[in-house]
């Protein structure tokens, strides 16, 4: 059991040194895609309704700006 434990720690130490130096391509891709999805989620959350309003205000026939706010 003691030998098993020492083998385990050796393995962990080995992996640790490798991880700090280089990451595999799949891991890199995963991290970047997660970062991109997070940014996309924030952008969509804040920007979707303004995007719809901008597209709508520029469609023909162009509505006036006061029509956005007035209840008539």
């Amino acid at each position: 059991m003691a030998s098993r434990v020492s083998l385990k720690t050796k393995g962990k130490g080995g992996k640790g040194s490798k991880g700090s130096d280089e990451k595999s391509a799949a891991q890199c891709l995963k991290e970047w895609s997660t970062w991109a999805m997070k940014k996309a989620k924030v952008a969509t959350h804040y920007g979707f309704i303004p995007l719809v309003i901008i597209i709508g205000m520029n469609s023909e026939p162009k509505p006036q700006l006061y029509q956005l706010l007035s209840p008539v």
């Binding site: 999805m37 989620k41 969509t44 959350h45 979707f48 309704i49 995007l51 719809v52 309003i53 597209i55 709508g56 205000m57 469609s59 023909e60 026939p61 162009k62 509505p63 029509q67 956005l68 209840p71």
Partner: protein, 313 residues
């Protein structure tokens, strides 16, 4: 004169034989089948009649069109909302929301966005890339982490078939396909794979429709068997019935409902085998002004929900 009469007498038998010929053609023209309805709308008629959007409390919707394609909507919803609880009792918390929505509806592009006061966004996008290929996206985004959902669908519409590929967050992938087999019958199937829960499923569906009735059936390996039948009794009245059976959890629900579409109002009601009756009335008071009454009485759970609302525009 002699010339006029013979064409008339010869025209009638030719017409009769022509219609008989076209009926024969309709019966056997398997190359010219109509395009089936999309897979997710298989139970459309039954859902419209049996599952109206009941609510509890007050609902006020104001929709304002700025031009043909662009409109804004304001909604106020006040009432108790259920929160999921482990016990058999339903727990309700009174809430009040204001929801702002912007819609842009074009033949090629449709954008619908709704945002609530607590920051939840509900967005739907539908775009036609080509005549046959459509992209749809659906997202519910919240401020809480890990509670947001998004789904992309790619639809391809062929001459007598439709296929769809879906991708959602949490590694959810799905595909479905539906094909017209005869002018009245369409068959389809779907597969999905949920990475996060490590579940996969396959299902089959069939839909038989005529002018007077629609019958659908759906089976899935998650244990669900869903059958529905809608009979259009007249222009104004439809009756619908629905049967859902889960063969893994031995859960059965059957419901029967009606849908009256009259000049000034639309009344839908249904009764369930779980002891739940629902009724939904939309009354047109004036041009653009609708009054809504909704009632859902669950005798088993002793849950009584009544709602009223007004829709303007």
């Amino acid at each position: 004169m002699a010339g006029i009469v013979p064409p008339a007498t010869t025209a009638v038998p030719a017409d009769v034989s022509h219609t008989a010929h076209t009926k024969h053609d309709e019966k056997t023209d398997y190359m010219n089948l109509p395009c089936p309805i999309p897979y997710e709308e298989l139970h459309r008629e039954a859902l419209m009649s049996l599952k109206p959007e009941t609510f509890e409390g007050l609902r006020f919707d104001f929709s304002k069109g700025l031009n043909q394609k662009f409109s804004l909507s304001h909604s106020v919803i006040m009432g108790p909302t259920e929160i999921p609880s482990q016990s058999a009792e339903t727990i309700k918390i009174p809430t009040a929301h204001y929801e702002f929505g912007a819609n842009f509806i074009d033949p090629n592009l449709m954008l619908i966005g709704r945002v609530l006061t607590d920051g939840r966004l509900n967005a739907r996008v539908k775009g036609d890339l080509t005549d046959n290929l459509t992209v749809k996206a659906n997202a519910q985004l919240t401020n809480e982490p890990h509670m947001s959902h998004g789904m992309f669908n790619f639809d391809y519409k062929g001459k007598d078939f439709r296929s769809q590929f879906q991708m959602g967050n949490g590694a959810l992938f799905g595909a479905n396909y539906i094909q017209s087999v005869t002018p009245h019958l369409s068959l389809g199937g779907e597969v999905f794979w949920a990475g996060q829960h490590r579940k996969s499923g396959i299902g089959y569906a069939a839909r038989y429709e005529t002018d007077k009735m629609v019958a659908t059936g759906q089976v899935a390996n998650t244990g669900i068997v869903a059958l529905s039948y809608v009979q259009k009794v007249s222009d104004k009245v439809s009756l619908a019935t629905d049967f859902m059976y889960n063969y893994l959890s031995r859960d059965v629900t059957a419901s029967v409902g009606y849908d009256y579409i009259l000049r000034q109002c639309r009344l839908r009601g249904k009764i369930d085998s779980n002891g739940c009756t629902t009724s939904y009335l939309e009354e047109r008071l004036n041009m653009g002004l609708n009054f809504i009454l909704s009632a859902e009485i669950d005798h088993m759970k002793k849950d009584y929900k009544f709602g009223f609302g007004l829709t303007v525009g």
